[in-house]
Subunit: 109 residues, 2 copies
DNA sequence: TATTTAATTAACAAACATGTTAATTAAATT
DNA sequence: AATTTAATTAACATGTTTGTTAATTAAATA
């Protein structure tokens, strides 16, 4: 598995995707704060965090009994870079679509 | 599963990721052209294509006995949009890293 | 130092993913 | 009309993922 496919695998789970989004908007948080015990057990969340960590998406910092997690910006950027590497493809294709829709509008007029 | 997590799930497999990359660079291709029989059977590839299709990443066009596949630019753009939505996060974080590295350089000088 | 707090690893069950070969579908060719 | 080509769906085995509860680890507090 490459860096990218592993990052995608990590983000393919709703729980993990939500964790990454939350850490990006709220910044560093302890494992406990990421857990809603009515939805999932602590061990289950702990393993999700491990998957995210192994994929390089988040990092862990220890503070006493707490494990503080945060998103690694490099990981997010490598995904952004990939989409940008192919930007000419989807941009050009969407331009053609825009042009097509515009010509439909013209036909209506 | 949301649109995005499903797209990530589809791209988390090496074979499917390679298919998407190939379709983006070479354009529309029949299922047969995407298959290397020394690596995988036709039914296996057929199912990978189905996963990509259900995730909205590719579309199928029928021409006689052939099934022609191509990437849906909207799907690629929705991933790009997500990374851009969080751009301020990873950009700012990386700027701080850049600043840190720059100050290290200064120390050396 | 005993207890509480925070989070992990271990063991296990259920569900899902992914490969195979065999069977099926449907259009094109002979 | 029979055969070939292109690709799919079906059936099944195996490995991985993801949840649970129980047990463990380790730091902080009483």
């Amino acid at each position: 598995m490459t860096i990218l496919t592993q990052a995608f695998a990590a983000l393919s789970d709703e729980t993990r995707f939500a964790v990454v989004e939350r850490l990006m908007s709220e910044g560093e948080l302890p494992a406990g704060a990421l857990l809603d015990p009515s939805r999932m057990s602590a061990p289950a969340m702990s393993r999700h965090l491990k998957v995210l960590r192994k994929a390089g998406l988040i990092k862990q910092r220890i503070d006493g009994t707490k494990r503080l997690y945060s998103v690694r910006p490099e990981a997010m950027q490598s995904i952004a870079d990939w989409t940008m590497d192919h930007r000419s493809f989807w941009e050009a294709s969407l331009d053609r679509l825009d042009a097509h829709l515009a010509s439909d509008e013209e036909t209506k007029t």
